[in-house]
Symmetry: C2
Subunit: 422 residues, 2 copies
């Protein structure tokens, strides 16, 4: 005595970087955070939510149900509206057998769907293919469940398919293909790079997965995380992987947190069998259903024009914030830093010369902190992948939560730091 | 091809009985369900929630934060109010180092806390000691995670301590004690029996656990599920296990779902280290925090008199519903059926003569269905325990969700069925 009673899972589950970054922000009010994935405060739909909840709770038809347990998969109306909303985005016909309520689950944020899907498909030692870089909280889930990750290189329109094929081929040769369960892609305005995956790339990736399934001995699923899909302010929408002919291999994770209200934490998934049934059962054990009050709020926002109107306003708002960040970067960053103009989402991904480290222990990060500005070190967004060194020369800069003035000042401060480091 | 890609966990996770029973209720509107653990519809705090949310969203101080992400452990105000509320229930002093916000986590229902705590402590093959019978959804979590259960016999005031000691002694002898991580108890108006565990029994159980920890080589925790604590309508409150000197071994799971609104799905836990940190990190992966909108609603209910007033009304309401059920049972049930008068909670536990089976495949259950009345078969509430046969002669009868008229008619129908089976 006394060793601890903690499980292997608990021992593997580290402090999430997101907590550490959030805490730093909360503890130092003078700090300008370009790190947190918080959404814009000023455009939160406070008045909409107040009106809608007043109507939901004021109606005998919805008031009681909003405060009572519901079913594990979620409110029937919200599932129908969600499937219809997605069908409209994907240009699917009314007769689509894919964009339907029966394949839809409502969750406490899309994060919960990512967690449960991973539980449903992966045993310790299994392999998940991820973008290189990818969403760091998902990497935390993999770490916690003792899963292995393999990174797939990105190009301007999503996965490098030749690289994906080489990874699959190498896993086939090493006999590891049967351990591959999921290809996880953040397909719209990716966290952290801001890149959007083209429809052709989704199709190409699914074709490759299908080809290698034969050697895996079981389906390999594309887990499409579309969290930022509706935060598009330039270019056209891209159809989701549900619109390919491989929809039986697609798990679509969506959310109303980002486009409506993060404090309402309503996400959703469209899933094929047998994953759908497995995840629904797992959700029965997690919480047997998402809070009905939140579901009724979202159903009433979607069922009226409030949702669409709000998303429209949000796009204008983020377009403006992105423009302010871009202008400040042009003005203050040294010229040897590469970055792309965002077309949606919350992030600019800045690539420094490889010799300049950006990690939490780097001079740059410490100097930025001393100048009261915080970014997400790029290294956090890379999986532990034995086939390459972890890149450590990038920064994720968020224009989501910071005010317009803070975006300008934060980038200005960071620019000073970057110039001083050279 | 094609075998499935599902994980071992998914393969173990069966259809929860709760879904099956809920679905049966929804599909057959003429059915009177005395099965579902739904709470009373008529007393749902619709007006309170409407007023409180209007105030929360109408205030610049709380409106924005209610719709924004918060921190993983939960809203600071709600954690403080929760710790204070529990301190008051336990008669703890202001200086208590146990009933404090820093040890408090806010979750999506107490179910989520049960799930995460089990993830944090148990590896496949580990053993959880449970009451015999116990809350069947928790048994689903154990099954899903390949955990073994051992049932501990109950007496009128909680665990049979001699039986618990015998179980621990036998596990010590078999070398299985190092696999024992948790003793799970539903301590107030237990689901399904309605029994309440006395403070002396909590203390006695903790003393036994402490004595056997030496042989386990690590702490063994008491997971105290207090979901029904505030639904007491007779007798005095009993202090929680947090009020013993063994609070470092106590994980307290509480909820606002049952006493306020199940549709708001806010639960909470008070946890000792290192379990607290482990569960907080796991929550970071599950959903990185409970929906702020729900937390602000509960904080504002607790911070005003609305919460206490509502709980008072609820107690009167359930007292009346319980009395109606008790009167109907006295009138309609044959005399060879044993049951105890409930003093709180939502359930009456009826014990038939052992020779009369009550399971889902029994004549009794099928005859009850044919008479349009549904109960929870007692067998569902028993763990798979190799040391005894699973009892199959009991019924859980809920007076929570049904109307007063349905309670009377439902019991009357069940009485007819019971008399016809004799």
């Amino acid at each position: 005595m006394k060793s601890s009673a903690l499980s292997q899972l608990a021992r593997r589950t580290g402090e999430p970087p997101i907590s550490w970054l959030m805490k730093m922000t909360l503890d130092r009010p003078e700090l300008i955070s370009l790190a947190a994935g918080f959404t814009d405060n000023e455009s939160l739909p406070v008045r909409d939510a107040r009106d809608l909840l007043d109507a939901v709770l004021g109606s005998p038809k919805t008031g009681g149900p909003a405060l009572q347990y519901g079913s594990t998969p979620g409110d029937a109306t919200l599932r129908r509206l969600t499937a219809g909303h997605l069908a409209a985005l994907d240009g699917a016909s009314k007769a689509s057998s894919v964009h339907i309520a029966d394949r839809t689950l409502i969750t406490h944020g899309s994060q919960q769907l990512l967690y449960m899907t991973t539980e449903a498909l992966c045993d310790p030692g299994d392999i998940v293919l991820v973008e290189d870089p990818t969403y760091f909280v998902y990497l935390g889930i993999l770490q916690s469940h003792a899963l292995r990750a393999r990174g797939v290189r990105l190009t301007a329109d999503g996965l490098d398919l030749a690289y994906l094929e080489a990874v699959l081929e190498s896993l086939k040769r090493s006999g590891d293909l049967p351990r591959v369960k999921i290809l996880y892609l953040v397909t719209y305005h990716q966290n952290p790079t801001g890149l959007t995956t083209s429809f052709a790339k989704k199709l190409g990736a699914l074709e490759l997965l299908r080809r290698y399934e034969r050697f895996a001995g079981h389906p390999i699923y594309l887990l499409e995380d579309a969290a930022y899909r509706e935060l598009r302010f330039a270019g056209d929408d891209v159809k989701s992987a549900l619109a390919t002919k491989f929809s039986e291999r697609v798990i679509y994770a969506g959310t109303y947190s980002k486009p409506f209200a993060t404090g309402a934490r309503v996400g959703f998934g469209l899933l094929p069998e047998p994953v759908l049934t497995a995840v629904r059962r797992i959700k029965g054990n997690h919480d047997f259903g998402t809070a009905n009050l939140l579901q009724q709020l979202l159903a009433s926002a979607l069922g009226t024009s409030r949702y669409e109107t709000h998303v429209g306003e949000l796009r204008e708002r983020y377009a403006r914030k992105a423009a302010v960040m871009v202008r400040a970067i042009c003005e203050h960053f040294p010229p040897n830093i590469a970055w792309d103009e965002p077309r949606g989402g919350l992030y600019v991904w800045a690539r420094l010369p490889r010799k300049i480290k950006s990690g939490a222990k780097s001079k740059l990060f410490q100097a930025a902190l001393a100048h009261d500005v915080l970014y997400v070190p790029g290294e956090l967004c890379y999986a532990s992948d034995p086939t390459r060194a972890r890149p450590n020369h990038e920064m994720r800069l968020s224009f989501g939560g910071a005010s317009l003035a803070d975006i300008s000042h934060g980038i200005e401060r960071l620019g000073q730091v970057l110039r001083s480091i050279h």
